[in-house]
Amino acid sequence: MSSKRALSSNAKRGSQGASLVKEQQLDVAGNSASTWQAWLHGWVDGWNSFWFSSSDAHTLAVIRICCGAMLVYVHVIWASFVTSFMGEHAWIDQAAIRELHSGDWGWSWLFYVESPALLMLHQLVAIVASAMMAAGLMTRLAIPVAWWMTLMVCHRMTGALFGLDQIVVMLSMYLMWSQCGSVWSIDSWLRQIRGLKGWWLPTAGATVSNNITTRLIQLHLCVIYIFGGLSKMRGEMWWDGSALWYTVVNYEYQSLNMTWLGHYTFLIAALTAGTIFWETFYCAIVWPKLTRPIALGMAFLVHGGIAVALGMVTFGTIMIVANSAFISPESTKRCLCLITRRAKT
């Protein structure tokens, strides 16, 4: 009887133990599921916060003004020599440009326009739209028009383009989705002072579209730099420290004689190494607040150097402008308010 009791108590204990193990297993499974869920939620929240937070338009407004002004300049130069570049007897004539693009999707209506008057009219529209973009007048319409006209010119002018064109098209393409015309613009003046309302006036205040635009510019810059850096990593000169020398002695680029650098071999090699490492790791060091000033400071020095010494003022300037996307709208606002106050005093 007692052995029976003992057996039954043992069985009871055993079943209790089994259920305990089961419970523990369930707990572990539940914990891992909840950990997994928490991780997923965290990731989704991070994604949402990265893309879909609202932000002000002050930094984008600065980019809009600079990019618009640059586009005006670019189109004025095209317009000054419109027949040489796009006319009947252009460097690359219509038959040639159509053939060049016959296998791709790079299409432009300028493939079919030869009349100098029409070409000039095209450039005039591009200049006016770009000027409106810079001034912030009817930006909801002006920026898409400026982007489209520039895109048409870019497809037509294959062969005569360089980094400047890539960056202005990229910036205008992103800016047209934002409310960058809501501050420091004629649009904001019309809305605030004149009390005008309408769909064509950009939304004031912080918006999600401003944030998405900023993020796209930032990520696009990271892509540009990482591939720029990795491609340089393939070259011997970037490793042996002579690349900077061979850049400054390129007579066709040179606008400032920097050959004196050759007397300081350590300096020239260090600057070469600094350039390649900064470019490759830009995408990593530009995000943490601690290292961001280093990434942006280097960008200012490198692109400033390109602008001053390598004769590409336009490209160097627009790259510095694009890098400003990493400056928060609040900092831009504070900075410009400070400048305005100082100018007034």
């Binding site: 929240d45 916060s49 999707w105 999600v208 990593m233 050759g262």
Partner: protein
């Protein structure tokens, strides 16, 4: 982390606290991912290019997104001054007039093309022609391999089309009877040449006229296969060589 995330979600409200509905966020996220794929597709393919072609891992995205990438002008490799800073390439142009006068022009020219952006446009055009250049091949080699022949014919045809367009531009712009274009390479001097030998950066010895055909090719039959057709031409029927005699003197 969990608490933070939960708090964020709780305070988020019905629109998720991000100013957009859940559905809008999902749709926008998809668009953003596709766009970022398009931004990276071209540089990735460009970067993986070798003599064996491009990486099969990068091709699908680039091919699938080709309409968007190419139309939105996102098709860049971002290879600035890479893999190494190389020599510049210029256009040496010779113009001929009916009264046996000749004129010479060089593109780009810092003094002639101002402002700097205009100069840079001309500089890019001369680099573009150089990039397109494909030398003529031995007719025998080309005819032995139809694939090489087809590839070469297409590439050579493209180069000649752009060169001829540029030539026509020069004739029309300067009212000349004929124009000839040579590609000139401006070699980059070493630090020894510049700092010790005091060689100016634009010293004439640094400019080399590039031949259209490699020197090992015989003069006869170099252009026997025309880019537009596989018809074999007699040497006497071959078109005029690209390089005028004067240019050869400069090269020497």
């Amino acid at each position: 982390m969990t608490t933070e995330a939960t708090t964020l979600r709780e305070t988020a409200g019905s629109r998720g606290g991000w100013g957009l509905s859940r559905r809008s966020r999902i749709v926008l996220s998809l668009i953003l991912v596709i766009h970022l794929l398009a931004v990276t597709a071209e540089p990735l393919r460009f970067f993986t290019r070798s003599s064996r072609g491009t990486s099969p891992a990068t091709d699908p995205a680039r091919i699938l997104l080709a309409p968007y990438v190419e139309f939105a002008y996102l098709n860049h490799g971002y290879f600035f001054f890479a893999p190494e800073p190389g020599p510049s390439h210029l256009l040496e142009c010779r113009l001929e007039y009916g009264n046996s006068e000749t004129g010479r022009l060089r593109f780009p020219d810092k003094r002639a093309q101002r402002p700097r952006l205009l100069y840079h446009r001309h500089f890019m055009l001369s680099e573009f022609l150089h990039q397109l250049h494909v030398p003529p091949v031995q007719p025998r080699i080309a005819e032995d391999d139809p694939a090489i022949l087809a590839e070469w014919r297409e590439a050579r045809g493209r180069y000649e089309m752009i060169r001829d367009s540029m030539t026509r531009h020069l004739v029309a712009r300067y009212a000349a009877d004929a124009a000839f274009i040579d590609r000139v390479e401006h070699r980059l001097p070493s630090d020894f040449e510049v700092l010790t030998e005091r060689l100016p950066l634009n010293d004439p010895s640094l400019y080399v006229v590039l031949p259209d055909a490699p020197e090992y090719l015989p003069a006869e039959g170099v252009r026997a296969i025309d880019a537009g057709s596989s018809k074999r031409l007699e040497p006497s029927q071959a078109t005029e060589p690209d390089r005028p005699a004067e240019a050869e003197e400069v090269a020497q």
